[in-house]
């Protein structure tokens, strides 16, 4: 059995990556990701982890180096945030197209300008369609568990896709809290050694990343899309197996007191915990409100989300990034598309909150609830609204 320890979440994340016996880590420092890679470099320096730690000169090279290492058959890891993520985005697409099971922790942070080192989901949304599996953590334990799961599912031969674990910058990454770290044997039981299906090997020469003429490009993308969709049941299956080994169960969509709720608040990330406290408070006041949280962001859990929302009369969707579509934010757009396809049309309002480190409080969730109810009564949908903003 693992040990329950108080630990900074970033340190716990690095410890977990170390327990996964990663071979190559290539990383470039950026706040608030730094503690993860600093601790990994320490693990390597102290001989606790036999890996190549490559302190590259940019995030672009971090991902490029991971691609090279993964193609050569190594288990690889990197981590980044915000501007760094933007810089490496070009290569993120290529990593998934080449079907390389790289694992990355994205410590979510706002995008410039103005420069902000603080948390929101602008970076997460910028890279939502890169073809990576993406999960979102709400607390330190989930960061650790989801990282282990990320290696497992990414390297599954039915999947072979890169995977991201998103964790909120500072509010989660820099938090000291209790975490149950598994021991080595438990990790080994859950995560078999990485066996690449194809690799760069002079004994079996292959050409990775050829030119795709118009005659083949569509077919290549179709094959990638099919692989991406096929990862969904494997993600669920490996979570079920995780529950058997570790006793903690994860689902693509998590619910909290939502079964009989008239109003559902939908969140993603560490603010979900605050939302739960808010739901408890509002329930005590007799409001029939519940919470639905997105654990799996890519592939998007269309059916599970519909199942979780289908009893609701109204849904308040929280976005932590601007959509700049002129309309709703990215999470809300996705939720609406999901429900439209299933011919289910609850009253939906979008609330943008927590940009660039702006705190999201219990009170904010109460406000969201009340605004939604009032708007529904008036029958004048706003579409979307920014919460907790000075005029």
């Amino acid at each position: 059995m693992g040990k329950r320890v108080g630990m900074e979440v970033s340190i716990a994340a690095a410890e977990m990556v170390g327990l996964c016996d990663v071979d190559v880590i290539a990383a470039y420092p950026i706040t608030p990701q730094t503690h993860i890679v600093e601790h990994l470099s320490e693990l390597v320096a102290d001989g606790h982890l036999d890996a190549e730690f490559i302190p590259v000169e940019s995030e672009h090279s971090a991902m490029s180096t991971c691609v090279g290492a993964a193609a050569a058959g190594a288990r690889t890891f990197t981590s980044t945030s915000s501007q760094g993520y933007a810089l490496m985005a070009e290569i993120c697409y290529i990593a998934s197209s080449l079907r390389l099971p790289i694992v990355m922790a994205v410590v979510n942070r706002a995008l410039s300008a103005p420069i902000s080192i603080w948390n929101d989901h602008a970076d997460l949304m910028m890279s939502r369609d890169t073809g990576w599996i993406q999960t979102v953590a709400e607390n330190g334990q989930e960061v650790v568990d989801l990282l282990l799961h990320a290696f497992r599912v990414a390297e599954d031969h039915r999947v072979l896709l890169p995977a991201i674990v998103n964790l909120d910058g500072f509010t989660l990454s820099h938090m000291i809290e209790p975490v149950l770290l598994p021991d080595e044997d438990e990790v080994k039981r859950y995560l078999p050694p990485y066996r690449p299906r194809l690799r760069l090997d002079p004994e079996k020469p292959m050409t990775f990343g050829p030119v795709g003429m118009p005659e083949v490009y569509t077919e290549v993308k179709k094959a990638q899309d099919e692989a991406f969709k096929a990862s969904y049941p494997v993600i669920v299956e490996t979570w079920d197996e995780f529950a058997k080994v570790f006793g903690r169960r994860y689902r693509p969509v998590e619910t909290y007191k939502s079964e009989d709720a008239d109003v559902i608040i939908l969140t993603m990330g560490s603010t979900s915990e605050t939302a739960m406290t808010a739901v408890d408070k509002m329930r005590a006041e007799g409001k029939k409100v519940g919470l639905v949280r997105l654990r799996l962001w890519r592939p998007f859990p269309f059916d599970e989300l519909y199942q979780a929302l289908k009893g609701a009369g109204a849904v308040a969707v929280m976005d932590r990034a601007m959509g700049f579509s002129g309309g709703a934010g990215p999470v809300c757009t996705e939720v609406k598309a999901c429900l439209y396809d299933r011919a289910f049309y609850p009253y939906i309002q979008n609330y943008v909150a927590g940009l660039g480190g702006r705190d999201i409080t219990v009170e904010n969730f109460e406000e969201i609830h009340d605004k939604l109810v009032a708007s529904m009564k008036r029958g004048d949908p706003m579409g979307y609204e920014i919460i907790n903003v000075r005029e």
């Binding site: 197209s97 080449l98 079907r99 194809l198 990343g209 050829p210 083949v216």
Partner: protein, 85 residues
Amino acid sequence: MELGCTLVEAGSASKLKTGDWRSMRPVTDFDLCIKCGQCYIFCPDMVYSRNEEGYYIANYYYCKGCGICARECPKDAIKMVQEGD
């Protein structure tokens, strides 16, 4: 299609005929040839190979007709001639 559209057959381009890019064809006069191999080492298309007697023979399946071999031959043993002549 292989994973990530990886190509698993090494050197499969060698099936591609690039000889039909050619309008001029190099022809070697083996009486003049001194087997120096300049045509071989300066050919961008790997056209020449050495036979048992040490002469360099052109493989027209690949030859694009650039004429480097004729230009570089120190004995002027290689002439470019019009295809079809």
